[in-house]
């Protein structure tokens, strides 16, 4: 890692962002598909979004048969820049360890698509983008988004790209929820599905963590009842605290201990103050501060809410197996031993439902002490599993 280049890149991006903080939300540097009022998006809350857009990136080439497309679904604070430099942070794409030429998800073979979720803040319609009716940012006037709404929007993007059926849909955490929703809503359009480190519903504990984060945002006076963009303020303190709390849930005690222990930050002894004496405090503060530079606070409220509302079984009379009835999709489910946000029991519940519905499913619990975030990291076992599953599915699909 070249720290100097990264810092310069980040500062340049920050300078640009300061010139127009809403640029990415409305005019993303990535590709974008715009839908007029005649192609409104019907949402679960009852609203039809007339005039909306979805930002996306693609990698590799769509083959003549249009049969090699892979949709990658991003997690809560991810974006469409899955395998290319993020224009806001200047950092590498969030899944570049996995996706690229010759990598486990090989862009020499597959056409990889990743879109910013509905409700996000990097170019898809959401609270930070402009309401076409007013020309001002939507703020809390944006309708509440569900995982199913995100997937409906993605399906319209896939239609727009002229792709009838996806070879694979892959994602972790909130991305995994979208994978499950895809397989349930459009089974005939998903050949293979790989939901990672996820659950078919958000647990009470996870809703509780999200609520703490939202309350932190809303307690910041600069949040201004959600109208901070009009007032040209940002609830940075609140969002930062929300991110600090959430970040802990993405790691594990073992990972935190290995990384920081009780080490002091740039000092030899305690200062008897509330300064960041410990490395772990300094690290969390940094995580919080760098997050607010790239993420919209209202988007954070909307997307955490979407995860909270997700309960795939509830949409099918309380029986998860019915969500996958008659499915021909090949599934590969994976969890991580130290993930306490989406523990292995959540993945097993998915596997049991898929077995009960007679679907083709593989499942493996991968050994890692890195917690929930393991799915984003360089985990050789995950790569081997993905390579094997994708390779075998490609053979069955007749992809070279």
């Amino acid at each position: 890692m070249t720290a100097a280049t990264n810092t310069t890149g980040r500062e340049n991006a920050k300078a640009q962002a300061l010139r127009d903080p809403l640029r990415e939300a409305n005019e993303p540097t990535s590709l974008v598909a715009r839908f007029g009022p005649e192609r409104g998006l019907v949402m679960d809350c009852g609203v039809t979004l007339a005039g909306w857009q979805i930002a996306y990136q693609t990698y590799g080439t769509l083959n003549a048969a249009r049969s090699n497309a892979v949709l990658v679904c991003h997690a809560l604070t991810g974006d469409q820049h899955v395998a290319s430099t993020n224009p806001v942070t200047g950092k590498a794409g969030w899944w570049e360890v996995l996706i690229g030429p010759g990598k486990p998800l090989d862009t020499d073979r597959f056409f990889v698509i990743c879109s910013n979720v509905l409700g996000g803040c990097l170019g898809s319609s959401g609270p930070a983008s402009n309401n076409p009716a007013t020309g001002r940012p939507w703020g809390l006037d944006f309708p509440l988004v569900t995982i199913r709404d995100m997937v409906r929007a993605q399906a319209m993007l896939i239609d727009h790209l002229g792709i009838e059926s996806l070879f694979a849909v892959i994602g972790g955490s909130m991305g995994g929820m979208q994978v499950l929703q895809w397989a349930s809503s459009y089974p005939e359009r998903v050949f293979a599905a790989m939901p990672l480190a996820t659950g078919a519903r958000h647990s009470a504990q996870n809703i509780a963590f999200h609520e703490v984060g939202r309350q932190a945002v809303m307690a910041d006076p600069d949040w201004r009842e959600g109208r901070y963009l009009d007032a040209d303020t940002r609830p940075s303190k609140g969002l930062s605290v929300a991110r600090m709390g959430a970040h802990i849930t993405y790691l594990s005690e073992a990972a935190l201990h290995r990384k920081f222990g009780r080490n002091l930050q740039d000092r030899d002894s305690r200062t008897f103050s509330f300064d960041a004496d410990f490395q772990v405090e300094s690290y969390l503060r940094h995580q919080g501060l760098s997050f607010v530079e790239r993420f919209d606070a209202n988007s954070y409220l909307y997307l955490t809410r979407a995860m909270d509302y997700f309960d795939l079984a509830a949409d099918h009379g309380g029986v998860l197996a019915r969500a996958f009835a008659g499915s021909k999709t090949r599934f590969c489910v994976a969890s991580f031993t130290s993930d306490w946000l989406f523990p292995t029991s959540d993945s097993r519940a998915i596997v049991h439902a898929l077995n009960a519905s007679g679907a083709s499913v593989s499942f493996v619990e991968l050994e890692s002490d890195k917690g929930h975030d393991a799915f984003l990291l360089d985990e050789p076992e995950l790569f081997a599993t993905l390579r094997g599953f994708i390779g075998a599915a490609a053979r069955v699909r007749g992809l070279a």
Binding site: H352, S362, F389
Partner: protein, 204 residues
């Protein structure tokens, strides 16, 4: 195909082509692959070891990491045509419950197991006074995963107790040859090194 283990080959021949099969304790997927290739079955597996599952997934097989003792209960009735337990029943905590679950999940069950009644095993206990260690069963008593050994006679009795009907049974001698079907049970129990049973549910 010529180097396929004789018991696996025997099991594969018991399976109707095109059927739905669950292999419990499928290891690295050798039998599943054989079934998929030779019998064109819809083959699924359960395997305890992470390495085994990863290997199976890499071969393109549908395998779930799980435990025969705890996870079979989650499968619905009649989900498969055959549920196979190959050289694994002696390593389960509750062989009877496992076998009952197999016959609930599948219309038929195929079980292969090492025969603890084989003369060489009897001889080791009788004449040398120690727990048997053989080429087939190489682990010492303190580190063997096999906690519920049985003889062919024991297995037949368990089938009677749970009302399972034997459709076919084969005993293999140490050389891998079949023992004549006309031979009496006591002969099988003495000279069969391993046995393969094809079972179906009896009338309740």
């Amino acid at each position: 195909m010529s180097d396929v283990r004789i018991d696996l080959s025997l099991i594969a021949d018991m399976v109707e082509p095109g059927s739905r099969v669950l292999d419990v304790g499928c290891g690295d997927g050798e039998l599943l692959e054989l079934l998929a290739n030779r019998r064109n079955v819809d083959a699924r597996g359960i395997e305890l070891s992470r390495v085994g599952v990863a290997g199976c997934v890499a071969r393109g097989l549908s395998v779930v990491q799980g435990d025969a003792d705890t996870d079979l209960g989650d499968y619905p009735d009649d989900a498969f045509d055959y549920v196979i337990l190959s050289q694994t029943i002696q390593a389960t905590r509750a062989p009877r419950v496992v076998l009952e679950n197999m016959l609930r999940i599948g219309r038929r069950a195929i079980v292969s197991f090492p025969n603890f009644g084989h003369w060489s095993i009897r001889a080791q206990i009788a004449f040398r006074g120690h727990m048997p260690v053989t080429g087939n069963l190489p682990d010492s008593w303190y580190d063997t995963p096999n906690i519920h050994f049985c003889t062919i006679r024991d297995f037949v009795r368990l089938c009677d107790e749970i009302g399972a009907v034997t459709e076919r049974a084969v005993a293999l001698n140490a050389a891998g040859g079949g023992i004549g079907v006309k031979a009496p049970w006591w002969f099988w129990n003495l000279f069969g090194q391993q046995a393969v049973f094809l079972l179906r549910r009896g009338r309740p």
